[in-house]
């Protein structure tokens, strides 16, 4: 039956739509500031006149491509094109700095394809039971999930955990600026109109990652990235060998990405961070995460692309969008006359299965499209003279951060935060913990306050936070993730002493 729908998805017109969608999504996603949500939202009117299956294939392809596109600027500019590519910067940029940017881009493409296929496979086979996972997560689970994401600080601030914690606390505090979501109090603005809208996550991301790079780039005549004298192509065989070596990491991260994608509001950034944390925790001796380890890129990129399929599970089965782009696609579904819900797979199975087949198709097409665009992106960034690269990237940061909310204030905040990030980096405080705090702050606060209120009302605050099985599982993972590097180091030293 699925083969029949797959054949329907494989019409020449649908293949053209999928190709266009993946290419457009990839290019939009690669521009810092343009998120997957924006890519889908901007192109959604194109689909209104198409038949439902073609429209959904196009939207799925744009979404898939945009999530992958964020990896280019993360690897080549140290600026995640989309929030879901934050953890790609941790190892992608160091790889590019040492002259392996082409390999990093190819690895990210392969990992994205694997993640996308795993997510789509879950969507096809296990949608109804998996959608129940979304319902099992309450506010307190979201709170602990955010704390789990924050536990990555221990990995990002090797040798300076106190500074990492300081940075994360600052990020959490910055996330509180503006109007409180729960009770609408104006917080930490000190009367400034610029601050009343709060700190926009993507603007902060662009500022904290990109501005320090630009500040250092402009200060010296050194090249941005190492230029290789000989052409090395896609380095596909080398990338495939590395991917095969990391197959467990890849599959685990894809499953994590799918599950996190199912949870409404969590999204690709949380999926990428949690997968990265797990990949690092289970690293083999000699693997140095954060210093250009290909496994880090694979974990993040497979997880964030798996959220595409994962996010569609509650969207289609429950009508609850898993991620912000899913919300836009949900709107497009309604325009097409498709009613989401538990009966969707039976009532309008033909359209849904063709759409899922289209998602497989779009993900597979990402391989040639992504490799080709990635190669040209790498070549352009490497060979562009500094006098053109610096203003081009600076200009993109300005227009990108403006476009999110059409706000000049966001651009100002982006530049100020970026400069602050550079100053703090001089004091040994990295940008990543601050960014983690800003991204996870709203999720943590909402979960914390709601759980606090429910716990207080029921008179069981302790049980609310520490008495639910899923919460306990996440807490256990958080503790392991936080203390594992410390314990591992101590154990290694103890073994060395005893070996002597």
């Amino acid at each position: 039956m699925f083969a029949e729908h797959f054949a329907q998805a494989l019409t020449p017109l649908n293949i053209v739509f999928a190709l266009f969608g993946v290419a457009a999504g990839t290019i939009i996603g690669s521009i810092p500031g343009l998120t997957a949500t924006m890519a889908v939202a901007v192109l959604v009117p194109l689909t209104f006149t198409l038949d439902p299956a073609s429209a959904l294939i196009l939207l799925g392809a744009i979404y898939t491509g945009a999530i992958y596109g964020g990896a280019y600027s993360a690897i080549l500019l140290n600026t995640p094109g989309t929030p879901s590519a934050i953890a790609t910067t941790f190892d992608g940029y160091p790889m590019a700095k040492r002259g392996d940017g082409d390999l990093a881009v190819t690895i990210s493409c392969l990992a994205s394809v694997v993640g996308g296929l795993v997510g789509a496979a879950f969507l096809l086979t296990l949608s109804p039971p998996l959608s129940e996972v979304a319902l099992a997560f309450g506010p307190v689970e979201y709170f602990w999930l955010a704390i789990f994401g924050l536990s990555l600080i221990s990995a990002l601030s090797a040798g300076a955990l106190a500074k990492g914690l300081m940075g994360a606390a600052l990020g959490l505090l910055l996330s509180c600026i503006g109007v409180a979501e729960i009770s609408a109090d104006v917080r930490l603005t000190f009367g400034s109109q610029t601050m009343i809208g709060g700190i926009e996550v993507v603007s902060a991301l662009i500022g904290l990652y990109c501005i320090p790079v630009l500040i250092d780039l402009v200060a010296t005549p050194d090249r941005h990235l190492k230029v290789e004298t000989e052409a090395r192509g896609f380095r596909l065989a080398e990338a495939l060998r590395l991917v095969w070596r990391e197959k467990v990491n890849l599959i685990r991260s894809s499953v994590i990405g799918t599950v996190v994608g199912i949870l409404p509001g969590a999204g690709g950034s949380v999926a990428g961070l949690v997968s990265y944390s797990e990949a690092r925790r289970t690293a083999k001796p000699g693997q140095e995460y954060g210093k250009g380890e290909p496994g880090g890129i694979m974990a993040t990129e497979s997880a964030n692309n798996a959220t595409v399929g994962g996010g569609f599970i509650p969207t289609l089965v429950l009508g609850i969008p898993g991620t912000p782009p899913d919300a836009v696609i949900l709107g497009a579904l309604l325009v097409q006359g498709i009613r989401t819900g538990p009966q969707l797979f039976e009532a309008q199975g033909s359209i849904v299965y063709t759409f899922i087949a289209g998602l497989f198709l779009a993900t597979a097409l990402m391989l040639p499209v992504g490799l080709l665009i990635g190669r040209y992106a790498y070549k352009t960034i490497v060979t562009l003279p500094k006098a053109l690269l610096v203003p081009s990237v600076a200009f993109m940061t300005i227009i990108g951060s403006y476009a999110i909310r059409n706000s000049v204030s966001d651009v100002m905040i982006m530049i100020v935060l970026g400069t602050l990030g550079w100053v703090l980096s001089r004091a040994g405080i990295a940008a990543s913990p601050i960014v983690l705090g800003i991204i996870l702050g709203p999720i943590a606060e909402q979960g914390f306050v709601q759980a606090w209120t429910i716990g207080s009302a029921t008179g069981d605050l302790w049980g609310m936070f520490f008495g639910r099985p899923i919460s306990l599982g996440i807490i256990a993972f958080t503790l392991v993730s936080l203390f594992y590097p410390l314990m591992k180091g101590r154990f290694a030293r103890w073994r060395m002493r005893h070996a002597d």
Binding site: A169, L172, L173, V218, A387, V390, S392, A394, F395, R426
Partner: protein
Amino acid sequence: MQTEQTDRLDSRGIAAAAVFVLAGAVALWDTTSYSDVDSAVFPRTVAIGLIVFSVSYIVYAFIRRGRRVQPSGGSSARRVALVAVMLGAVAAMPWIGFILSGLAAFFCLTLAAMYDPWTRGRMVLYPLVGAVIVIGFFALFRYGFLVPLPEGRLF
């Protein structure tokens, strides 16, 4: 590029931690003005955390002198110019419009980032490339993504 030196007091880290303590105290003071306790509980917890972590680091830095991050060299004037040009362009945007402020910023940043000698070819090519990028992105965002980019108030 950062290098590490040993047996030195991390004065930059201590200064940053001291500023964080101040920021935490200001945030704590701000939470006293909220009308709803739900608005205050999270920032208050975080502010206390920020103060505790920062004070702990200051104590740690004095007790255990060790790693200190030293900034790399490079032109401070060019660094300041980059930030100033970007801030200036954004401040000018509502007055002279997006295209003019974008073009001005692009050309100023080209000057700030230029290390190669100016040849006749570069003098023609670089401004041309700048104009194409600024106008191209303006058109893409304005007409492709329908982003209402600022128009100048002056003209």
